[in-house]
Amino acid sequence: MQKVYTKIESIAGNVISVKAEGVRNSDLAIVTSSHGESLANVIKLEGETVSLQVFAGARGISTGDHVRFLGYPMRISYSEDLLGRIFNGSGIPRDNGPELTDNLIEIGGPAVNPAKRIIPRNMIRTGIPMIDVFNTLVESQKLPIFSVSGEPYNEVLARIAMQAEVDLIILGGMGLKYDDYLYFKETLEKSGAMSRTIFFVHTASDPTVECLLVPDISLAVAEKFALDGKKVLVLLTDMTNFADAMKEIAITMEQVPSNRGYPGDLYSSLAARYEKAVDFEGAGSLTILAVTTMPGDDVTHPVPDNTGYITEGQYYLKNSRIEPFGSLSRLKQQVNKDTRDDHRALMDGMIKLYASYRESQEKKSMGFQMSEWDDKLLQYGDLFETKLMDLSVNIPLEEALDLGWEILADCFEPKETGIRSELVLKHWPKSAS
């Protein structure tokens, strides 16, 4: 069906509507204007009126421009040729390589049957104690980094990407600053990881609609590779920009906003993307590490809030450190029972004491007399922050656990730690009394 429609009825934001027949929901179309061609997809049908969102934006489109429906939904080529390549949100190359058109797959496919999922079982080691010890990252997990603008979240992402043992990295950039895009590219090229990386990048200056497509395109490709037995890590930065793009379209479409202008299906839309993370029995896996910047450091903002309810935990990045409070890996219990017998108890014990340290610190800042117990806590907190929390620390899990016991022994008597006696007996450093 290649009929060309030449009468555009309305143009609002990036959404245009035409009168057409036999068009199916979600189908693609090509809009040809004096500024060139752009893809568009159907988002609403109402009688004969078809509403489309134009990927390259509706700016400059005239009511007399041509709309040609392609009769199929958005697709992307899937092959090994994707590796090392860089594309934009519509899947068009933004490096100077050739366009790929064979073996097209649909994006935004159906959900995985929960009965087909398996319990995650493999830890992904990162060498960052705040992750490995306290909030272990697990294969097939979906985890965002909650961060304030200005924090080095992309650096953390890049570091995890390079150190994590995976077969393939897919970077989905949404509203990425051009500098950040170059940073990722250069870092991965320098470390030699570029050849196992695919970029789908929407930069801040690109049209909004393309931003919406980045997660779907990245995840559709990742899913295919995972089904073919690859361990894939998808990095999505920054999902707040994705949500804002959704908001923009929803408001253009005159949808009733639910919370701070975001559409009512924000949760479902985010979930449909994050839930793509999966471990396929007998094949590969898909792990998602995303960045969600919190406007105004407000975790109750709809985007981080809804994200937190979907993802399997979150890392809080604050003052260039991964905060122990609020950070959580929900899947850690699946793997930290098999690492070392003291892992769980030490993790809980140290955090409880760190919480008490924060209270003592507060007391101190208010000028109260410090008890002996407070002094111990203050010493502990200091050691904890410099030896374990600092992002530059790069040690394997076992070393980090030993270090944890050393810190405890430096500050406390065994019974002050609240850790089970048998573990204390086994792991308390012998040099300490």
Partner: protein
């Protein structure tokens, strides 16, 4: 025969508008014919000759003019033996069978038979000539650990049906005719073990509803002792993300002292359901000696599955619960999370362009939530036995702020409120139920006076701790400081419970009573403590013993040792009982 049909006139998200010919009823099911695929949908608004349908599937590929078939039936579930151990989606599609047929992904438009075609050993109870009303027992089949009653279908007219014929004891297919019933006018109707029931209509075939008084033991100390739940009651667990709602629900589903557990995973993470899916067939229920799966049904409509089916999933779950209640069984329905269900309603309301209420939730939110929780209850059945449905729902309030419409609407109708606090979960104090903000209207398994005494200490301890933030430790009297330490002790050895410890994860009632009694003695005693340092050291020591004790199995020889050690420690410092405690213990 398709009763009626129509044509698609518009598509907006998961809502489709259809122009129809004959008569269409509200909430009836229609199928959109898309080539080979039939997409299930439900009528949610009718205006003139145009019906709005919410589609339970993705709507990509639908075009204007597509044919729609109406069924004339409301959205229903199949009821009969074989429901236990099943894993369904929100529309009662069996997921494992679907996986066999379609592989890794959920293919749309595939609907399988909910109740497996299996044969059952039928024993008749009624005889030819008996008169029966709907929901009265025709016969029984053994289903796992239960006797499953085959009843007169609930959708039969409420008149005296005469048994015209009934099959003798033997093995019959689940859909085979087992009896023929005759109404007073002589119309005959065939009955098999299976019938259907519309999910949005409560099943009310009981004599009377009773007040929930019997405690439902969850083996979570803070709940059973301080914030109890009753069989047939309702409770909610609101909490910000990461506060441990799901872990708490999971613990309850494993340990609750109840006949059947139905888990409605409604719009939450798929990974969490998987844990239940894979673990329950392996875990042995100490009460029955069978696996936990044998008493479990999972309704699973996770967040990435179609939104409209999410709305249906809680109703599917509660309808199945009511069905088993009619057999004199006690059912616990755990819905995680009711906020996702409310959001599904909000999405549809938005598409219908209804005038939005608070936070864009529809105006009927409160009444819908209330009527859902009202489907819980303990009832007396026709044969004198009792059955109950208890509903526990989690709420995921936006921003962890309980002042939002779903939490508030839920709090109005439930009997117990287990509010989770971010503060407690950040400090790894699990379960993070806030002991002071939460409440329950049901009776505890522990003596009420003792509980209120302990609660008072928690209150005072909290006050002292607030005060200490202003005046510092040095400005606090020793007496107040000891109260504060005692409240911390209750928190760390009783309120907190390690759900990942092989012993501590479940605290049976006898154990709770014993531990609470010992703890009560510590709380109620005036102790010989010279200064704050000595007080802290003493409480730390006691705490350590309690924690070790909590982690020791009942049949471990060290169990009594720890008990003795704690009692000795207390005895060393014991001066006298505090006045109120002495009165409760009836000692001088």
């Amino acid at each position: 025969m398709a009763r009626n049909s129509g044509r698609v006139t518009g598509v907006n998200g998961n809502m489709v508008t259809v122009q129809f010919d004959g008569d269409v009823s509200q909430n009836e099911v229609g199928y959109i014919l898309l080539g080979e695929q039939r997409l299930k949908s439900e009528v949610i608004r009718i205006s003139g000759k145009i019906a709005s349908l919410q589609v339970f599937e993705m709507t990509a590929g639908i075009s204007v003019g597509e044919k729609v078939e109406f069924t004339g039936l409301m959205l229903s579930v199949e009821l009969g033996p074989g429901l236990l151990t099943q894993i369904y989606d929100g529309l009662q599609n069996p997921l494992p069978e679907l996986a066999e047929q379609c592989g890794f992904f959920l293919q749309r438009g595939v609907y399988l038979q909910p109740i497996p075609d299996k044969s059952w050993d039928f024993t008749p109870v009624a005889k030819v000539g008996d008169t029966l009303f709907p929901a009265q027992t025709i016969g029984t089949v053994p289903e796992g650990i239960f006797t499953h009653r085959i009843m007169v279908p609930f959708d039969f007219a409420n008149v005296a049906w005469t048994v015209d014929s009934i099959r003798p004891s033997g093995t019959y297919g689940v859909r085979e005719e087992i009896a023929v019933l005759k109404d007073p006018k002589g119309n005959k109707k065939s009955v098999s073990m299976v019938f259907t029931w519309p999910i949005k209509r409560p099943i009310t075939n009981y004599v009377e509803r009773l007040r929930p008084t019997e405690p439902l033991v969850t083996q979570v100390r803070i709940i059973d002792t301080f914030l109890p739940v009753a069989k047939g009651g309702t409770y909610c667990i609101p909490g910000p993300f990461g506060a441990g709602k799901t872990v708490l629900q999971h613990m309850t589903s494993r340990n609750a002292d109840i006949d059947i557990v139905i888990i409605a995973a409604c719009g939450e993470r798929a990974g969490e359901v998987v844990e239940t899916l894979k673990e329950f067939p392996e875990l042995i229920d100490p009460r029955t000696g069978k696996t936990l799966m044998e008493r479990t049904i999972i309704i699973c409509n996770t967040s990435s599955m179609p939104v409209a089916a999410r709305e249906a999933s809680v109703y599917t779950a509660v309808t199945i619960a009511e069905y088993y209640r009619q057999m004199g069984l006690h059912i616990l329905l755990l819905a995680d999370s009711t906020s996702r269900w409310a959001q599904a309603m909000r999405e549809m309301s938005g598409r219908l362009e209804e005038i939005p209420g608070e936070e864009a939730f529809p105006a009927y939110l409160e009444s819908v939530i209330a009527s859902f929780y009202e489907r819980a209850g303990i009832v007396k059945l026709g044969d004198g036995s009792k059955g109950s449905v208890t509903i526990g729902g989690t709420v995921s309030p936006a921003g962890g702020n309980f002042e939002e419409p779903v939490t508030q609407a839920t709090l109005k109708v439930v009997g117990a409120f287990h509010g989770l606090s971010r503060e407690r979960s950040d400090a790894r104090k699990y379960p993070a139920v806030h002991p002071l903000d939460s409440w329950s209207k049901y009776a505890s398994v522990i003596d009420a006076d003792k509980v209120s005494y302990a609660r008072n200490i928690l209150f005072s301890g909290n006050e002292v701790s607030q005060m200490m933030k202003v005046v510092g430790e040095e400005g606090t009297s020793l007496g107040d400081y000891v109260v504060y330490l005692k409240s911390e002790l209750i928190d760390s050895v009783y309120l907190q419970q390690n759900s990942f410890d092989p012993v501590d994860f479940a605290a049976p009632i006898e154990r709770q009573e014993l531990v609470f009694d010992v703890l009560f003695k510590v709380l109620g005693s005036e102790l010989q403590l010279d200064d704050k340092k000595a007080a802290r050291a003493f409480i730390n020591e006691i705490r350590q013993k309690f924690i070790d004790w909590n982690n020791t199995a009942r049949d471990d020889e060290r169990f009594d040792m720890y008990l003795r050690e704690i009692e000795e420690l207390v005895a060393q410092r014991f001066v006298s009982y505090e006045r109120r405690a002495a009165k409760i213990l009836q000692v001088k």
